[in-house]
Symmetry: C2
Subunit: 452 residues, 2 copies
């Protein structure tokens, strides 16, 4: 038979079992955390009608989308989870309870130029709260709590949730008479971290046509820093000049003032006026999340408040708030930087049961007993030499090998060998289960991400 | 703005939140059960190089596959999880420990003619054990134990795992001098349940060119029935006439004799000589699983032993054994027949916390306290009338509403209303958590499928 050389497409992540286990662990923490806040799991098709997916159309999306025909159908693969959500909410409007909270962890597709750390197929892990006509600010205030619990669940403490409000920005630009240029200005200001204040100011004046005086005002506004109370106090100095600004400031206060009740420590949260999220889509609170020791990664969890989720599909205002995590990229970067915890539960079994007598019945029964107790057991059935069996156990990375020979069977016991320490004990099946489960629990509670 | 009518493509399942929760529950049981047997979770791209995916090529696959170009690339969407597994094992051969056990729950794509209950995008939930050169029969013997634990996990008792062995069949046809026709004969015999013995016999004689005498022998062989011991005893009558048959009979014995140790009751298992699985791929044990009260559904979990997983991609014999569940179709049929348990944990939250005072701080803190205890809490922030708030709770289907007014706050308590019974108690947050978690546990342990 002719052999076709196997390969995986460039830009498509495919992990070895140990790494995949770490990815699964992150997904489990995502599902569990999102569920704790009452978000319902949602699953929508990977393929949609291209006309529907491209309703907004334009720009990068049209270029990057995977679009093709099958029979008479013009099909496309989803490029995010927001457009499918909009379609879902519009289509099932009458059957949903609003506010509608959903989470979705799913693959999306963008045919970008292939480069290191860029993926064409990648997971997004999104939550959204969608209101019918209205949505209370309390929902926006709750989002940092979800992010905080999530990143703590990953094992992190050194991260910061950065929050701003688009109404504050829009109102401020309105005060300067720059409303029409606010989109350009915000996109420029968003680069502050990357290119520094001088270049931002230069672009504002040279490219955006902002006067030198207004540019100074903008730079001075952007440089407001300090504790949440400091920043809010400084913003109070602008109150009364623009109604949109005042509303934004009230919202920013509402999001900030209940942080303690939401369990978010002050050090994990900052009002940051430089954040705009380079999208015209957001209208209120916007969020970014950075790892304090790894600013080069950029924001790992971003989102915000929007006013009109599904205007392309339904004639109803559906405001909402949501955040998205680019899970595949996050995982890739964490792995590349050596931040994934190798101790965290990455073996596919807790124990390998190795029959040492010709008759496997006792080993089978032992394996089933341990499984019934919750131990993940692989039964080793191959006819190999003892050394090869142990070498397999090592390669598999299981913490324990359980040996069952005639002596153990006659004594109603089994020999449990800790492969990390080499220590072997001969115990009953119940004792073996207890021993292994204690270890399993510790591994499950180990942080999936390490801080360095 | 022009409205585009939202729709979901025909043949693509998209569930409402309550149903989706039931689907998630099934997936969780699948993941948990597969993990207990040491299967490692695997995730491979949905899109692969078309040449690689179609290495085997031919027939329905080429017609049904979603294939398209992007730039210079000839791409295709996976139509099963077996071919991507073969590619994965061949590609990562040097990095895997064999036997390699993996499970994968993922979407696959087949552009079939759309019809009721047929899906173009559907989940498969597969396990495979792949050996390097050899794979012990013990692995084949373990598969019914996985299936049994899985379906019990779903809440079922009235199901039967049916097992046969291709070597027994091949050996038998060899005895009759019909080896060359064995493929046609097995495909015909596989229809026995559907079209009955007379039609099968007619096809054998008229279409397959089997002599009347041989057809009688085949029909008599196929009619061997009874307990596992009865069937094996009847098969012993054929021993010594064909070496392949004898090996197959030994394997069938090995798979059957340790059932008790594997925890599989005799009534959930049957040696069934009519099963062939209509694929040339299988070479040893083959499996089907039927719901006893719903034979019309057909097999809900099938698979078998194969000798050469990845011959198209690597010059090494990689024998294996695997089973596959067509999860989307199974879910659809269960739902259609009303067999999904509505009581099983389908609400997206365990409790809705409703602030009854203008200041939400106490309600926020209560929600966080309950979440820390493991209660899935949705916080209701909308400014609505009490009646509308309660009507939302009802629509959401949450079992409990928690009301927090000035009285409760001052007393350090909260009012917990069971929305199913209308009973309301005023308790501390700790007591509320205990009450709700007991209920949550019961819902989580409720069978996801009901037997009727």
């Amino acid at each position: 038979m002719d052999i076709i050389k196997p390969r995986t497409l460039s830009g498509f992540m495919e992990l070895l079992p140990g790494k995949q286990a770490q990815m699964e662990r992150m997904m489990e923490i995502l599902r569990k955390t999102y569920s704790l806040y009452g978000f319902a799991p949602l699953d929508t098709p990977v393929i949609e009608d291209a006309q529907i997916l491209l309703a907004k159309g334009g720009g990068e999306t049209e270029k990057q989308i995977y679009r093709f025909s099958k029979g008479d159908s013009d099909l496309a693969m989803r490029f995010d989870l927001t457009v499918p959500l909009a379609k879902y909410v519009a289509l099932h409007y009458g059957e949903l309870a609003f506010p509608f909270r959903r989470y979705q962890i799913g693959k999306v597709y963008r045919g970008e130029r292939a480069q290191r750390g860029r993926f064409r197929e990648f997971y997004q892990a999104d939550i959204d709260i969608v209101g019918d006509g209205k949505l209370d600010i309390l929902n926006e205030a709750e989002i940092p709590s979800v992010i905080y619990r999530l990143f703590r669940g990953f094992g992190l403490t050194r991260f910061q949730i950065r929050v701003n409000n688009r109404k504050v920005l829009n109102g401020f630009y309105s005060m300067l008479g720059l409303s029409e240029k606010s989109g350009d200005i915000m996109r420029t200001a968003d680069k502050l971290d990357k290119i520094g204040p001088e270049k931002v100011r230069a672009i504002l004046v040279d490219d955006c046509g902002v006067s030198a005086q207004a540019a100074d005002e903008i730079m001075s506004f952007m440089s407001i820093k300090g504790s949440n109370a400091d920043v809010l106090a400084a913003l109070e100095g602008y109150r009364g000049k623009d109604p949109v600004f005042d509303t934004g400031l009230d919202e920013l206060r509402a999001v900030t003032e209940n942080l303690a009740a939401f369990g978010v420590p002050e050090e994990n949260f900052a009002v940051d006026l430089t954040i705009a999220r380079g999208l015209d889509y957001y209208t209120g609170t916007v969020y970014e999340t950075t790892l304090l020791d790894h600013p080069e990664i950029g924001s790992v969890c971003s989102g915000g408040r929007y006013d009109n989720l599904a205007g392309y599909y339904i004639d109803k205002p559906l405001p909402g708030v949501g955040i998205s995590i680019g899970l595949t990229r996050l995982f890739y970067v964490l792995d590349e930087q050596g931040l994934l915890n190798p101790a965290a539960h990455s073996a596919s079994a807790d124990a390998l049961v190795i029959p040492m007598s010709p008759e496997p019945t006792a080993a089978i029964a032992l394996a089933e007993k341990l499984r019934a107790a919750g131990v993940r057991v692989q039964l080793y059935g191959e006819q190999k030499k003892f050394k090869q069996k142990m070498s397999y156990a090592d390669k598999l990375g299981v913490p324990y090998a359980i040996l069952l020979g005639e002596d153990e069977i006659n004594a109603g016991k089994c020999s449990v060998k800790d492969l990390r320490t080499g220590v072997q004990v001969t115990v009953t099946a119940e004792e073996a289960a207890e021993l292994i489960l204690a270890d399993k629990l510790a591994a499950e509670n180990a942080p999936v991400i390490l801080e360095k």
